[in-house]
Symmetry: C2
Subunit: 606 residues, 2 copies
């Protein structure tokens, strides 16, 4: 998270001589971090605070339909922009509803600031039995106004600040933000609802500009040694490879990794969560490596490696192909680079962030010292490169996930930002090869279904904000189209947020809704025909956009697609009209038991 | 919660000699408490458990669109049936999403059993880094498989049982259910996902039938004395009154309270949360008493009382008219009867449940000893009794909340079960006089918007179950129509659950959707024209039912209503077609600043 896009006006506008309201301080601080949009749902404990958001030029309130959706949206905003995601909710009812979204951000290391409007200081002191506040277990005990704060401290947040004392409030805000930016995890700010009008000394904004809150690189006295040791291992290797992983993105080292891949010309791979971090349109990009769950051609090449540079690695069940990532690989071959440590083969652990190591590795790497004999001819081009025209025989046949995957392979355009929700189709993604500049975003470890719709909305707002900022700064910037892929079962959970795409006039994502009549991923795991895997039937998905805000179809283009020829036709049209001002929506009818090979393989193994 | 409607087959079906699966035990146990439907969302950590639900005859799985909705539905089921509400969710993603719904049930003393499918025992022991599970704060520490359990223990639940040891599992289940039934609050049951297939000794089901788990009345050695003291206070009073409150319903003493009101002929009132506990069609029912927020005629009469029997009282901000309930009332005049204590005027506190006291009070009360001189002529009849036919001049004018309230006064039929969501209109409810047998259900203290739609769905399932049970038992039973009243801002949060009414063929509620273009209740509190109080615009509410499952309008009847004459017409039609098999939906267009007088009064005062 680089200190880019900061607002230079902050220190000019505000002089330390003049006190400002706490509300203004807070939102000015957030704006000074480069954040342009804040998500949430209003409630009586945060309304007065929200008034001050409007005082900050260029900062937008983005209301969501409910709090879980707003948490997902803030998460999607952060992932898409690599900035802080911010959401505001109200005491109890709001903050608790958002909890699963915040937990997902915690699990996947997404920096989110969750601001909660709470009871007033007076109400806290009086221990009033307020609405939105659970009573104590005993009727003889007053309610605990901090009960919700205790639930998230040390569980799904990296840091919590609860404001009460005006003198320390600004420092508390800054300390919290700093922790969130360092730890890349959600933090909570609890603000009494009588707090926002209070006047405070704004000196923090002047003495400590937003850029100061971002973590600064440091080099320990062991960095050189570690880099040298890794380089030696590379130079002594017969088959060095690169395995890019998710923390490379979180710590904004994608360019460094790509440059290293380019400079070294090593065969490169990404993990499941790391997908799209490396340039997949490079011949040297072999494919997505998921241990036993990889494509055979991918795994065969990886297993030859005697030096796997696993960079920004995140070890968890899903990202390791259900704990098979290093199966049949000599542990001494793995160089593991993590945000908190580095491990070179079977050597000792160095407590050194990979963020220190990777830039130096790139700088000092000398290709002349590498033995390229075994890897120089290793390359891979995917089989399919165009939306497959269905043959005459199959033109009117149902669409399989396999056909869809092939079609998506070409539907996805350079610089697309693809959001894929949890579901059966997700497990086909590693077989997709993304074009130049395309990114994939998803909650591929925490796996909360329903994440996709609001997260892609948040990502769309982030793309819009980046576009506006580029226009304002007259900088050139590639603009991304957001593509959401989501199953019907997952979509039901958070469907109302669909309306927000049309409510915001400048959004035009493509939404691919896979209608396979229920929770297909669960049908594969257990109870294929059990009614618990059914969902509410008969939804007319393709008509939803008309009903949820765009009755006259001015802002959307929506189709129900049953046959292969229609799929090809509409995908081509969507791409032709890519830049028009419409939300494109394709409901694709699939068989309820048709899934990617990988999902069947996984469930058989586990 | 009386031990009615138990399944007598339990002990016959199961012999202690034969072991049964834990899954079967659990659902048999739940069924033995009279529960017929279980709500939730499937997930890979609960699928195998759910298989066993289908083995229990008469127990239904009711899938919901998301977990928050399923928690609200279980809450609504419990309130409508006075049985245990049960929901099943999955590890992390599911249980956290449901949290705000469970918290609301805790706040308002609704007995809900939340069953969570968790990681297997093996995974817990290995401390595996599983999907759905947040990692530890430190990457050097394994994840805590109990992290979510710790969040709810001692905060929003009355009891938590986490299963691991097969030998104690059945006792743990029974202990938990007992606690929930005693404390009338939610409890959590965490079940490892490898647990349901395991064989256990079913002896608990035989030795300890469902009825044994319900709290049994007990009489302390002070009960007589307390009852006598209260009776003396009544007999010495010049103006005794009854103030019915919510715990009378929770502890199933509505009949006793109504009989006492009938026998005593005292002027009677209910609190905000207690609405519909007393027979509001009685002349002796004066109205809803909310302290300073009462109607003047109601408050004037109450202030004359020198003996207010506040029965089943719940003291909190909303239910006390923002802490004005006893304003201008001599504290020595109040007899406060609570589930855990009784306080007679300024006397000492007796730690005696009112559940012991009320039945004896009813039994021993002698009207001959009462001085009726001041109260015998006190009675009240509401002003309006028919849907007001709009005059010729106003027939095409917009609908006000005042006109709507008058119209509802007659639209609501005897035995209707009215669910009103949080919103501006809610504060007009105390001016409504419910007909014979009609009930009001709402989250009128915790006030989480969005509760209404899923809760009324859960209540509808409860009514259906009671109907089926009455049919099976050939008992006579009045069947209720469910009427939901909800604003547009609130409806957006949980709108997907609308589809579930049509998915279940035997449900036919009337849904009154108040479209006032945003969060009107918040516009009154702060920022009347601020954009944070807007919602996503342009929804075609009345077309939602076609899109969410009933395209051909076979199961619903839906109207957008702008003018008074249309409102009268459709309300009359809805009542005429009350028993047909259709969901009736009326979207009523209201002005965004038009609210009940009480809301304006409240916000001006606070």
């Amino acid at each position: 998270m680089a200190p880019v896009a900061l607002n230079p006006q902050v220190s000019e506008e505000i002089s330390s001589a003049q006190k400002i309201t706490f509300g203004k301080f807070l939102f000015q601080r957030i704006k000074s971090l480069g954040v342009d949009s804040i998500f949430g749902v209003p409630g009586d404990f945060n309304l007065k605070l929200l008034d001050y958001l409007y005082e900050i030029e260029g900062l937008n309130w983005v209301g969501c339909c409910n709090e879980l959706n707003s948490a997902y949206a803030a998460d999607g905003y952060s992932r898409a922009s690599n900035k802080l995601g911010v959401l505001v909710t109200t005491f109890g009812v709001g903050e608790l509803s958002a909890m699963n979204g915040v937990s997902g951000a915690f699990a996947e290391s997404v920096p989110v600031l969750h601001i909660v409007g709470t009871s007033t200081r007076k109400q806290k002191q009086a221990k009033s039995a307020l609405h939105h506040l659970v009573p104590s277990a005993s009727c003889f005990k007053e309610p605990d106004h901090y009960v919700y704060e205790k639930m998230v401290a040390g569980t799904i947040s990296c840091h919590v600040e609860s404001l009460f004392d005006l003198d320390t409030a600004c420092d508390q805000v800054d300390r919290l933000i700093k922790e969130i930016l360092i730890q890349k995890r959600p933090g909570y700010l609890f603000i009494p609802s009588d707090f926002s009008d209070e006047l405070i000394d704004p000196s923090n904004l002047i003495s400590n500009p937003g850029s100061n809150l971002f973590p600064t690189p440091f080099f320990s006295n062991q960095t050189d040694k570690i880099v040298e040791e890794i380089l030696n291992k590379i130079y002594n290797s017969k088959f060095p490879t690169i395995l890019g992983d998710i923390f490379v993105d979180r710590y904004q080292l994608v360019d460094e990794l790509r440059n290293f891949a380019e400079k070294s010309q090593f065969p490169s791979f990404s993990t499941y969560m790391g997908k799209s971090i490396l340039k997949e349109n490079s011949d040297k990009y072999i494919g997505d490596f998921l241990g036993a769950e990889s494509n055979t051609h991918v795994r065969d090449i990886m297993l030859k490696s005697d030096c796997i540079l696993h960079i920004g690695g995140f070890l968890n069940e899903i990202n390791t192909g259900h704990d098979t990532l290093y199966n049949d690989i000599d542990s001494d071959s793995v160089v593991f680079l993590h945000p908190e440590y580095v491990k070179i083969g079977n050597g000792e652990i160095y407590y050194e962030p990979f963020m220190n190591v990777l830039p130096l590795l790139l700088e000092r790497f000398e290709s002349l010292k590498v033995n390229y004999s075994n890897i120089k001819d290793i390359s891979y081009k995917p089989e399919y490169n165009a939306i497959p025209e269905p043959s005459k025989d199959e033109i009117k046949t149902p669409i399989s996930q396999g056909f869809l995957l092939k079609s998506l392979q070409n539907f996805i355009q350079p610089n697309d930002l693809v959001v894929c929700d949890t579901g059966s189709f997700m497990f086909g993604l590693p077989d997709l090869r993304l074009p130049e500049g395309a990114r994939l975003l998803g909650q591929h470890f925490y796996l909360s279904i329903g994440y996709g719709m609001p997260a892609s909305f948040g990502a769309s707002i982030a793309v819009r904000d980046m576009k506006l900022q580029a226009l304002a700064n007259k900088t050139e910037k590639k603009f991304e189209r957001v593509v959401l892929i989501q199953g019907d079962g997952a979509a039901e959970l958070t469907i109302q947020e669909l309306s927000n795409f049309m409510y915001h006039e400048d959004l035009n994502p493509a939404i691919i809704l896979l209608n396979n009549n229920g929770y297909t991923v669960e049908r594969i795991i257990n109870g294929p025909t059990m009614s618990y895997n059914d969902i509410r039937s008969g939804w007319k998905w393709s008509k939803l956009l008309s009903v949820l805000g765009d009755e006259n179809c001015l802002r959307h283009d929506s189709h129900e697609i049953v046959e292969k020829n229609d799929l090809v036709k509409h995908f081509n049209e969507f791409n032709k009209d890519k830049d028009n001002n419409k939300v494109k929506f394709a409901e694709i009818i699939l068989d309820q038991f048709d899934v990617p090979w990988r999902l069947k393989f996984m469930t058989k193994r586990n």
